[in-house]
Amino acid sequence: MASYIPLQYYVQGFRTLEEYQKVQAYIDQIKGVRPHTVLAQNLMAMESCAGFRDDTRFASAFAMPDEPEGNKALVWKSHVLAWAAERALQLDGDFVECGVFRGFSALFICRYLDFARIDRRFYLYDSFAGLSPTHSDASERCRIEGSYERAAVEDGYDLATVSARFAAYPNVKIVPGFVPETFAQALPERVAYLHIDLNATAAEIAALEVLFPRLAPGGVVVLDDYAYSLYPDMAKAEAEFFARHGLPVLELPTGQGLVLKTAD
């Protein structure tokens, strides 16, 4: 029997109900031939075991109570973040996430690493008010128009609610305000883990200008939307930024971008 899933979280961009039903039917056909198919956000892996799901530490960190159903589609992105965070423990520096929203990714990492027991700080930067008016363009603001306001009402996207989610982690420091201006409030000397998800090209480049020099050699940057086709200008600007440092960006099937800082 076909197992129906909330498809819009996994394959984005339907225009009509008919398209939605067609996509669901095709997925059922594929699962009929390849029963082990794994679906994640905008990807379908047909021969991979996605073995990280069987790792009890991963599974227990990922299974957060009160999370929207759609976050289950972030399973492979979360595996990439868990890997980056695990590596970061071997490097010198603190953890940084720019663009926290409700805190799903950062909280997952805190749970995965049992961050309260780790002698590092995790800096979380977010405006809790949507995109920066000075470091985003009209098309970026138009794309998400109203979504942050809706999220504030429906999903608890506000400083108090998000702070409460991290109450068990005294070494997490939430820094409210727009990037990059908010860096004046608090900034780590050295960074070991860097995850950027600001949904605005100018803000992400401004964040990289400040944070990348602080990243420990051997560290990686995870760019949440680098490979997402809604953000071609962002990918171009970030590829140019890293090319100036002589570094290639890996476009991942998950939609993320990955950069390894090879030089000091």
Partner: protein
């Protein structure tokens, strides 16, 4: 051994469904037999060096050069990253790595690459420090003994790629490889295209 009519029919059904699924996402979908992605930039398909390498690595008569394109993208990125590191580049098994080394970075990586088709040959050499190692033997169970030889030679920030790390029919092997790498302080990333990626701190 030729495919049975049942297998061919299964593949035909799969391909029909995949192409149907990808159709509304023209230009942003990539489809092969093991991975389908939607809404992606696929910027590597506009990288002339990458495209030339991918074409050269496609066996004659192959109708779908995009078959392994995500895996090839990882290989090209890892080779480019290793270009800045000290040490040799090692390919065990797959000839495709050597083709990529000849096409990217102006071909300057080719002289740093050593290719070992078999485990016997890999065991016979005294390995130098390694900036890059790609393990893609014909027999997937030869990865573990190759790892024993390669891991101690990987330089700081050196990159390791394991072909078919996440393949569903090799799930037991995946667990043992993950443990071996973790013991050496190298967490393994399972990519949706099936590769395993590790980077030494």
């Amino acid at each position: 051994m030729s495919d049975t009519p049942n297998l061919l029919d299964e593949r035909r059904r799969l391909l029909t469904a995949l192409l149907g699924l990808a159709a509304p996402f023209q230009g942003t979908a990539l489809v092969d037999e093991s991975l389908l992605t939607f809404n992606r930039n696929n910027s590597f398909l506009r990288d002339d060096d990458f495209v030339a390498a991918a074409r050269a690595a496609t066996p004659a008569g192959e109708q779908r050069p995009a078959k392994l394109v995500w895996s090839q993208n990882t290989i090209a990125w890892a080779l480019r990253g290793a270009a800045a590191l000290p040490g040799r580049l090692l390919a065990f098994g797959d000839q495709g790595i050597a083709i990529f080394a000849r096409h990217i970075e102006g071909g300057r990586l080719a002289s740093r690459l050593d290719h070992y088709p078999s485990l016997g040959e890999l065991r016979e050499v005294k390995l130098d420090a390694l900036a890059f190692a790609a393990l893609a033997p014909t027999d997937p169970h030869e990865v573990a003994p190759a790892l024993d030889l390669v891991l101690p030679r990987l330089v700081s920030r050196g990159l390791l790629l394991i072909a078919d790390y996440g393949r569903i029919d090799l799930a037991d092997r995946r667990a043992s490889l993950a443990m071996a790498c973790a013991a050496a302080g190298l967490p393994l990333l399972e990519l949706p295209c099936g590769q395993g990626l590790a980077i030494k701190a």
